[in-house]
């Protein structure tokens, strides 16, 4: 070996061996997985993809800001719950499947029965769960039955114990003298229907009939016949878009008399209009709903970024709640400094409520909120859907509205803002606003 050859080999060997080595642990930037349970099919299938988009938006925002816990990207693991409200084994399989994929928290579901089915598995495993849209009072009862440190269920929409009172207010304002109550027979509809009956009776408004029904039936003609026979002047309907659409079509086919319909949050969405098919059938249908799209700075910022980052379309009703649920879970992970369930659960209360005064930081944008948390400061997350202040039972409070559906081209006067259902479907008019503090509890 000549000296020149030796030098060349030595130099080449040095070049090969001297690249900088990794100093951080291999999992330093491992993704943080969050489960998202949405209804892509079934009775809520018209809304599910829009709600899933809201979760995607929150994850996009956090990942563009560097992720969580020092550079770890968020990865959403989404599954379709098929709006299958009646199969606890299916709910358990969804929850177990998500846990097997390593999720550290779950956003979902929308339907209360599914949320409760998931919670039966997730809560004992200390996996935080946040729902955008499950309003059942049975969720409050589920948490109440647990010690505070065993509660892992949160929701960004208020419980139906408040909305049932608003239904009674609506019935009184609309001059109802004899009300039929039709409600789903699941964890959403059953307690809600019972609470509406109690609220109406408290207000001395007669109840003609209260009838439960199942989601997903091909026809509701026998139910419709039974209600027509009870001769109500108003019908309170607790349903999802799929069943509501079929009930309205059957009512129309049966030549049902003109009554005042009072729906709920379950049908205040474009998919309801699609399911009915003929918008003239539902002209002047009224309803109640939590207000989660008030034109606050936080909602407007959310709406702008939703349009800019996703399809360009406006966010659908209650997608703001889904965005907030996803955002709060991520902020709580950052606050906790870990994905450990109990720590994240505690942090959910901390990031959603005002913790210190003065000097608390108000966050409406996630980059800013993450920055405050990273600096060890408190935040009081102000959501797109409302203030998102979780109480000890994981509930929030918002104002409510009495809404009215207006057909495309309607010239009816609307005393409040209109929410365009998009695609020439008409609009939901905010007929009246009811402040949270004015609701009887």
């Amino acid at each position: 070996m000549t000296r020149r050859t030796f030098v060349a080999i030595a130099a080449a060997g040095l070049a090969c061996a001297c690249g900088p080595e990794r100093t951080l642990p291999p999992d330093a930037f491992a993704p943080i997985r969050i489960g998202v349970v949405v209804s892509r099919t079934g009775g809520l299938g018209g809304a599910g993809p829009g709600w899933e988009d809201a979760s995607r938006l929150a994850a996009l925002e956090v990942n563009a800001a560097g992720g969580l816990l020092g550079g770890r990207p968020v990865e959403l693991v989404s599954v379709d719950d098929e709006t299958n409200t009646g199969d606890p084994d299916f709910h358990a399989s969804l929850a177990n499947g998500l846990m097997n994929q390593g999720v550290v928290g779950v956003v979902g579901a929308a339907a209360s029965s599914i949320s409760l089915g998931l919670a039966a598995v997730l809560t004992p495993m200390r996996i935080p769960q946040l729902s955008c849209c499950s309003t059942s009072d049975r969720i409050t009862a589920f948490n109440e039955a647990l010690e505070p440190d065993a509660r892992y269920f949160f929701r960004t929409i208020p419980p139906d114990s408040l909305q049932s009172e608003v239904v009674a207010v609506a019935a009184g304002a609309l001059g109802c003298m004899n009300v039929a109550i039709l409600h789903l027979d699941d964890d959403y509809g059953q307690p809600f229907g019972e609470a509406i009956e109690a609220a109406l009776r408290t207000d001395m408004i007669p109840v003609a009939i209260r009838a439960p029904f199942r989601e997903g039936l091909p026809s509701y003609s026998s139910l419709v016949s039974m209600v027509i026979a009870a001769s109500p002047d108003c019908v309170s309907l607790v349903a999802f878009p799929g069943s509501a659409g079929a009930i309205f079509r059957d009512w129309n086919s049966a030549g049902g008399p003109a009554v005042t319909w009072i729906g709920t949050d379950g049908i205040r969405e474009p998919a309801f209009v699609d399911e009915v098919g003929d918008a003239s059938i539902i002209r002047n249908v009224f309803g109640t709903s939590p207000i989660t799209d008030a034109p606050t700075p936080e909602y407007n910022a959310y709406s702008e970024r939703f349009r800019a980052s996703l399809s360009g379309a406006a966010p659908i009703p209650f997608s703001s709640n889904q965005y907030d649920a996803t955002a709060l879970l991520m902020l709580a992970i950052e606050r906790a400094g870990t994905t450990d369930g109990p720590a994240v659960r505690d942090a959910l209360h901390e990031v959603s409520n005002r913790m210190s005064e003065p000097g608390f930081e108000r966050a409406g944008a996630l980059t800013s909120a993450l920055n405050q948390l990273h600096r060890g400061r408190d935040i009081d997350y102000q959501g797109a859907s409302g203030n998102c202040d979780f109480d000890a039972l994981g509930n929030v409070v918002t104002p409510y509205e009495i809404w009215r559906y207006d057909r495309p081209g309607s010239t009816d006067d609307c005393p409040g803002p209109r929410s365009d259902a998009g695609g020439g479907r008409g609009s939901f008019c905010r007929f009246r606003t009811i402040a949270a503090e004015d609701i009887r509890r």
Partner: protein, 160 residues
Amino acid sequence: MRGTALGAMLLLAGGCGLTPVEVELVFPREENFLYSEFGQLLVYDVSPEERLGDCSTRLIEVESTGVGSPILSTQRRPICEFRDGGIRFPDIPAGPHAYVMLAYDDADSLLLSGCTIAEAYEGAPDVTVRLFPTAGYARATQGRTLTCGNVTQKCATGCR
């Protein structure tokens, strides 16, 4: 001859703390790219105070006070030069860094930003920076009509 060999070895040894890094960019949707005209990619040392959580601070700073003092930066260049993968830095110092991407429109409004923390080491995976609309995106794009149907058309014809 001996001096030359020693010099080469010292040069190699001096370069041992450097490694090439590929940076890939992800736009939320095609329309975001179409509205963008220029981009700039910057690399920062992570600050001792912020460490691996440096990104949110960097993004807030670049939006409020400017790009500051990156250790490396591309020029502000046409956004089409960032398509299909993005860009390669041949010599990134070892260790964790914040990679910040900024996208501007033709009026110099910052439309999108994104940041990723990644460690530079031999054999490290490519760095992916995900972009997100800034607070000024809606105002900057309001009322504008895109004449480009897609990215290929934009980068081939220069349409806006």
